[in-house]
């Protein structure tokens, strides 16, 4: 394989891997804040045990998320040197800002969460939980500013073959940052809700830690339901921006071949390739639906991808399928959460074992959905690394050989596999152990240790 293909595989693999842990961190981070708030107000050991439990899940995941995040900051330089030279003026600044504003905040106060329970006051500890979570949200903001600039570049001019910043706010608040930030963060929080709900469902199935599970599951399911209802609107906002600024990507999402008045909205479909490089859709669709939702007019014109030459089109099948699978999963999640909340109201949730299993399955499914969304966004932008300005193939490091990339790709594969197995063991281990037994904690606090046999005064 050539160096370009290998560099792409390496980037996709390492970012996709990183993007397993980030949504869990952001989502469970919200749970940490809420449970710590509860303990801050009540001060009872049971609430502290619950909070400690989420902190353990959070920190184990956060660590691997941080570690694999460093890869990206290095990868732009190692594998995409031409890209870095071209965009460094604009793209580097958000990365530096992410370090300065977000990473320091997260990592410093993570130290308090990990080591500070006995050292700092309850209030300080609670504030630290907030700061770590805010740090993770700011981190997401800066990296999405950088990424959104690649989708919808703004606030720049091209000079001597380089993109030069002309307006900081123009570049930072580029057209797609709004919908892309809120859509991504909402998806991460939804993933977190499914982690929480799935853990609680597991305890309900095992009939363990029931008090703890009942408390947390309804919280997770109701917040999750709100997010799942908001998601189509956030997604729609994003789609409108894509249709306006990246019409070829929109065309790939729905396989609009030729520009037409009254384009179809597909619910599900399979594409077959035609001799001229276009695709035919076989599936269930709503005639004129795409025109209607994009322009509120069933006969509105939608750009097709044959408007641009073959070399400027993304891989249609992959874009179409990842986009539609993401939406299908999103609808499924909404229904699952709706049923969960209804059954809770009817007090029949704990007997609905099938639903508890579905909730557990939703943990990996929500991670799949968020990764599919990322694929749709990034594959749909191809062949551009910066929309309309630089092709991915022109961004690669010109003198890094395929042999070098094979070496590092192999090491990434090996190390990441070991880390994944380790993380999964630890994550599942924490869940199996469950929150600390509060009666024991109470006794330990009073200093009443069980007297050893035969010991007497």
């Amino acid at each position: 394989m050539d160096a370009l293909t290998l560099a792409r595989i390496q980037f996709a693999f390492t970012v996709g891997y990183h993007f397993i842990f980030v949504p869990i961190s952001i989502g469970v981070g919200m749970m940490v804040v809420l449970s710590e708030r509860r303990y801050y107000k009540s001060g009872i050991p049971a609430d502290r045990a619950a909070s400690n439990f989420w902190i353990k899940l959070f920190t184990a995941t956060f660590a691997i998320g941080v570690a694999t995040g460093i890869t990206m900051e290095f990868a732009f330089g190692t594998n995409w040197a031409n890209y870095s030279r071209f965009v460094g003026n604009i793209f580097g600044a958000p990365l530096a800002a992410e370090g300065l504003i977000a990473f320091f905040l997260e990592s410093t106060f993570l130290g308090i969460l990990l080591f500070g329970r006995k050292k700092v006051s309850k209030g300080f500890y609670y504030v630290s939980a907030w700061l770590v979570w805010i740090g993770s949200l700011l981190s997401a903001l800066w990296i999405l500013i950088a990424n959104s600039w690649m989708q919808t570049p703004a606030g720049y001019k091209i000079e001597n073959g380089k993109a030069i910043l002309t307006s900081f706010w123009g570049a930072a608040l580029n057209p797609s940052i709004g919908p892309r930030y809120f859509h991504t963060v909402a998806a991460a929080l939804l993933t977190g809700c499914f982690v929480v709900a799935g853990v609680c469902a597991y305890y309900m199935l095992k009939k363990k830690h029931l008090q703890f599970a009942r408390q947390a599951i309804i919280w997770a399911a109701s917040v999750g339901l709100i997010l799942a209802i908001a998601m189509p609107f956030l997604g729609h906002w994003g789609a409108l921006v894509v249709a306006e600024h990246q019409p070829v990507k929109m065309a790939a999402f729905e396989n609009v071949t030729d520009t037409e008045d009254g384009a179809t909205l597909w619910l599900v479909g399979w594409l077959t390739k035609e001799s001229d490089g276009t695709y035919d859709t076989h599936g269930i669709g709503i005639p004129n639906g795409l025109s209607l939702i994009l322009h509120l007019n069933p006969d509105a014109r939608v750009t097709g991808y044959t408007d641009v030459p073959l070399a400027d089109r993304p891989p249609i099948q992959a874009t179409f399928q990842s986009y539609h699978a993401m939406i299908a999963l999103g609808i499924f999640f909404g229904l699952v959460l709706l049923v969960t909340v209804l059954l809770h109201i009817l007090k029949r949730l704990e007997n609905a074992r099938w639903l508890l299993w579905v909730l557990i399955a939703c943990i990996p499914l929500s991670l799949l959905a968020i990764n599919l969304g990322w694929m749709a966004a990034e594959v749909g932008r191809q062949p551009w690394v910066v929309q309309g300005l630089m092709r991915t193939s022109d961004g690669v490091s010109p003198l890094v050989s395929s042999g070098q990339i094979w070496t590092t790709l192999g090491l990434f594969g090996l190390i990441y596999l070991v880390l994944f197995v380790a993380w999964l063991r630890i994550f599942v281990g924490i869940i199996k152990k469950g929150p600390e037994d509060t009666a024991e904690m109470l006794e330990a606090e009073k200093g009443i240790a069980p007297a050893p046999a035969g010991a007497g005064r």
Binding site: A63, S84, G88, A93, A96, F115, I164, S397, P398
Partner: protein
């Protein structure tokens, strides 16, 4: 003083703070398998750096981000040119971060995580110095600013000497930190390591200085030809003398750590003055291929925006960094790792 020059200075400051702060926890990681006897002492070492190391490492990430933003050509050349070395540093940082987080939760794999912590500390501590050696010595580049040498050329004797010196510098720095944070036998052992590693480092530093004067005359001419170069030489020597003085005192751990930090500031200043106005000088290719501060710098607005961000946020970062050091100040106990 142009904005680009200010950013050259700021990048040097960021990386110097990185070496002072992450240096002690990298050094502690290299010492970890040798200095700790038994599970309790291992726990003390991990807890002695536990609340700090992650924040310390962010200075590197921010420094790398600042180089990317302020000097994209330098970022692109070094990271792609030193490809395998940079990737090994990356793998080191990854396994190290995860090992520290997982070791505590995962008794059955403790040997794996101990090994990962050691290797993940050793490889960056060594290779960052080797990279610095090459940056001082200069590398062959083409007109676009790509490194055109081979991987093996990076492992030249001079750069390896700088790498080993840097490793030793961090080890004595880490031993000083462990002497501050530990008690009893572990403290006595750490203090012995601290003295021995300091003297080895001193010998290596003399060798590196001579090698620089003899083989990289551009750098030594820059240092000795400029008042600010002499200033950093004086800072460096003052740090050395202060550290030696403290090494002969029984309670000199903290002050010898400060001395070590002064040494690092002096050395970093010498290296920066030695290279300026080049960021990466050309070696074996025309002088025009050198990445100078002016040639490599980003546009005016980028540098200005970044400067404003730095002026606003660096003080904030310093405040809460000080807060966390204050919170976890004092001797580390074996039980402190039990979160």
């Amino acid at each position: 003083m142009t904005l680009a020059n200010i950013w050259f200075f700021l990048v040097a400051v960021l990386l110097t703070v990185y070496v002072i702060l992450d240096g002690f926890d990298l050094g502690a990681g290299v010492l970890y398998p040798f200095i700790a006897k038994g599970e309790d002492e291992k726990g003390v070492i991990r807890a002695a750096i536990g609340p700090f190391w992650d924040g310390n490492e962010v200075w590197l990430l921010t420094g790398a981000g600042a180089i990317f933003a302020a000097f994209p050509m330098v970022y692109a050349m070094t990271f792609s040119g030193f490809y395998l070395a940079i990737m090994l540093v990356l793998f080191g940082l990854i396994i190290r971060a995860v090992s520290l987080a997982f070791r505590h939760r995962d008794g059955s794999w403790s040997a794996v995580w101990d090994g990962a912590f050691f290797l993940g500390s050793l490889v960056p501590a060594l290779l960052v110095g080797v990279a610095l050696g090459n940056v001082i010595r200069g590398v062959p580049m083409d007109a676009q600013g790509n490194y055109i040498g081979t991987f093996w050329q990076l492992l030249n004797p001079y750069s390896l000497l700088v790498g080993v010196t840097g490793l030793c510098l961090l080890v004595q720095h880490g031993a000083a930190w462990l002497s501050i944070k530990s008690e009893g036998e572990l403290h006595d052992r750490a203090w012995r390591y601290r003295k021995v590693s300091f003297w080895i480092c001193a010998v290596l530093a003399v060798a590196t200085s001579l090698a620089t004067i003899l083989t990289v005359s551009r750098a030594s001419d820059n240092v000795f030809g400029r008042p600010v170069g002499w200033l950093f030489v004086v800072v460096f020597l003052a740090g050395v003398l202060y550290t030696i003085w403290q090494l002969f005192k029984a309670d000199g751990a903290l002050r010898s750590f400060v001395g070590s930090a002064i040494i690092i500031i002096g050395l970093a200043g010498i290296a920066a003055v030695g290279n300026f106005p080049d960021m990466v000088p050309a070696r074996g290719t025309p002088a025009a291929t050198s990445l100078t501060v002016t040639r490599a710098a980003s546009g005016h607005l980028t540098l200005l925006v970044m400067l404003i961000l730095a002026i606003v946020f660096v003080p904030v970062v310093l405040i809460y960094t000080a807060l966390i050091y204050k919170t976890f100040w004092g001797k580390t106990k074996a039980g402190d790792a039990d979160y």
